[in-house]
Amino acid sequence: MSASSRQRPSGVGRVLVAVYAILAIAALGRSVFQIVDRFDEAPIAFSLSAVAALVYVVATLALGLGWDRIAWITVSFELAGVLLVGGISLLAPALLGLDDANPFGREATVWSAFGAGYLFIPLALPVLGIFWLRHRARAGVVA
């Protein structure tokens, strides 16, 4: 009981990895379908969607297996992506070849409207990921 307190940080990290894995599956499934079914409708948005999905897969592996450098790169990339693409999708959807900014529409991607179609999890996860990586670096844990 009391000995488990030492495991706590790594345990929370496990939850982060699990949620990343779920998001990776969700983003990958959707982007594969969109590219197979309707790539011509919004090639830029769907390509970004596929890149995002692949980065989620790499981030999941990096966080889970303790590849900290790759985790930093992928998590930072996601934060930049969700802010940049999320902003563009709302302010200038035409830049991405989108007809509208509806985060639930047929052209929506994981980053549209800051991830609103995914309960803003794509926005929250990289922030939590960065906190987690900083925490672990400070604690000096070598995974």
Partner: protein, 122 residues
């Protein structure tokens, strides 16, 4: 899909999600209750597969893209077993939270499947 079954499935998945997350945060390790609860969510998903195969034969065909629907359903089917394996391998309180997160993910995906099946905005 059958809307009543979808609603029941979503409620069950959310309830299991709350149960597992609360027990996990309360410091409990995964036990029969939490693992079997998520297994129940998986059983309902398998029932959904049967419904999705049978429904078009009785005049309840999807209005959306069936491929998109099946991608969601197959992905949803994969999530609870992975979470359960995780809980069996790593027996800490946080595995209960992982079980709960899996249940919530299934709830969202089932709701999205219902939209693909019966609600077309465009």
């Amino acid at each position: 899909m059958i809307i009543g079954f979808t609603i029941a499935q979503t409620i069950v998945a959310c309830a299991v999600g709350v149960l597992c997350v609360v027990l996990g945060l309360a410091g409990r390790k995964p036990n029969d209750l939490t693992v079997l609860a998520l297994l129940g969510v998986e059983v309902l998903l398998v029932a959904q597969v049967v419904v999705a195969i049978a429904a078009p034969a009785v005049g309840n065909a999807p209005t959306g893209n069936p491929v998109e629907f099946w991608i969601y359903l197959v992905c949803a089917l994969l999530i609870p077993p992975l979470a359960i394996v995780w809980a069996l391998v790593e027996r800490t309180r946080w595995s209960n939270v992982v079980l709960g997160a899996a249940a919530f993910a299934v709830a969202v995906m089932v709701w999205r499947m219902e939209q693909i099946w019966s609600v077309q905005l465009a």
